[in-house]
């Protein structure tokens, strides 16, 4: 079964710092790589996503960097804020023709005020 390896498992960052979360995937059926943000007791919410025809996508303080040859992608949170404290999941496509995703195990981010 395909896996998505996500690291680190947990991350503590000072307010204003940069949070970096990494993911590595295996083979994919289609090209769309999303990141989700989940607060305790809530469902995950789509945060940002990238198609690997570009190497980087930025939306506000959130940036995805993508390395197709290495099969790796990362999430960078610039100027991290206490409100960013949440669990972050990466996902990579799995299966064939069915839009199924394999999710990483999650990174619990805590931003200190």
């Amino acid at each position: 079964q395909q896996q998505v390896k996500q690291s680190p498992q947990s991350l503590i960052v000072q307010k204003g710092g940069i949070s970096i979360i990494n993911c590595a995937y295996e083979n994919t059926a289609f090209d769309y790589f999303p990141w989700y943000q989940q607060f305790p007791g809530k469902g995950p919410a789509l945060l940002i996503a990238i198609r690997p025809d570009v190497s980087e996508k930025k939306e506000g303080r959130f940036t995805i960097s993508f390395n197709k040859s290495a099969k790796q992608f990362s999430l960078h949170i610039m100027d991290s804020q206490p409100g960013d404290s949440a669990t972050y999941f990466c996902a990579a496509p799995g299966g064939s023709g069915t839009y199924k995703y394999i999710f990483g195990t999650g990174t619990r981010l805590k931003v200190l005020a």
Binding site: Q6, G41, K42, L46, A49, T98, Y99, K100, I102
Partner: protein
Amino acid sequence: SQTIHQWPATLVQPVGSPLSLECTVEGTSNPNLYWYRQAAGRGLQLLFYSVGIGQISSEVPQNLSASRPQDRQFILSSKKLLLSDSGFYLCAFGRDEQFFGPGTRLTVL
């Protein structure tokens, strides 16, 4: 706008009892629908997905089943719950972009 509903929000059930969780989607037609389970502090495990009415694919053999009686309705069921069925159950819809519902916290005692 597209919205997704799940109920109940929380559920406490005894071992051996039946289960029915419901998910409905509004504002879209013929969506792909998904059921995920999230164990405490863990990632999301895909349980079932559906590309149309009556079309269900199971990802993990287990004590659960799913049905899609209507285009925008997805139901997760069990005839007899096990302790290991406890978890946070999430319904989602979409294709490349998937949108999750608020989830159901199930505790089996």
